[in-house]
Symmetry: C2
Subunit: 105 residues, 2 copies
DNA sequence: CGAATATTTGGCTAAAATACCAAATGTAGG
DNA sequence: CCTACATTTGGTATTTTAGCCAAATATTCG
């Protein structure tokens, strides 16, 4: 794969994570399968908006869906995603410390 | 911190990763400090564009800078970022397998 | 000081992402 | 078949992001 393409492919997946509502849904899906309506209640947006977020994550390969009756259930496809968050917290802490040290100068 | 804010803060950091050029630079910075001009050669965009990418990553807390003479060196602030990529690859593989299984149907 | 080099900032345009509403689709049950 | 319900799709307006050029800033060196 051409180098430029490799980073583009990675960016697509990371972009699919890069939205507050989507992160909220991922956190929730870590507990297990949820239907679209449950996720809508969680994030509080219009259901069409939620559906589009889910489609986008599905296309990126983050989640998969399953139809049961008239409902559609989504679940995480690759649980290692959850490991991200500890590092994200580390970034925030590191940033916070920097802020503190700047005050002292 | 209010829940909604927590996810917004996380999203800001993840957004700062979510661009091919920025991922390319992060990969390169994993080897060690680089000046802006080296990173411009790497990604091939206008230097003002590269500078803006770096500023954005700095504001997110991903990198820090250091001025040496007339050059500015950037380095990774939180190395655990690099752990992301193995999971990203896993997402891509999982996606690829899905594609293959669909062909067979 | 004045020229040369590295980087950042401001301004602007084009492209991408987001959100909502309305309409379409799919499924279940009477 | 008709209605109700869950979800997706289409269309559109708004916001955000990206990239380039030109100008400003900072530093080095003669």
């Amino acid at each position: 794969m051409k180098n430029r393409e490799k980073y583009k492919a990675r960016a697509k997946i990371i972009k699919a994570l890069a939205h507050p509502s989507r992160l909220m849904m991922i956190d929730s899906l870590a507990e297990g399968e949820k239907c679209v309506c449950e996720l809508r209640d969680l994030v509080g947006s219009d259901i069409s908006t939620v559906s589009k977020h889910l489609t986008l994550m599905k296309e990126a390969g983050l989640v998969e869906d399953r139809k049961v009756g008239q409902q559609v259930y989504y679940k995480l496809r690759v649980p290692c995603i959850m490991n991200f968050f500890s590092c994200i917290e580390a970034v925030m802490e590191s940033k916070a410390k920097e802020q503190i040290s700047l005050v002292g100068k």
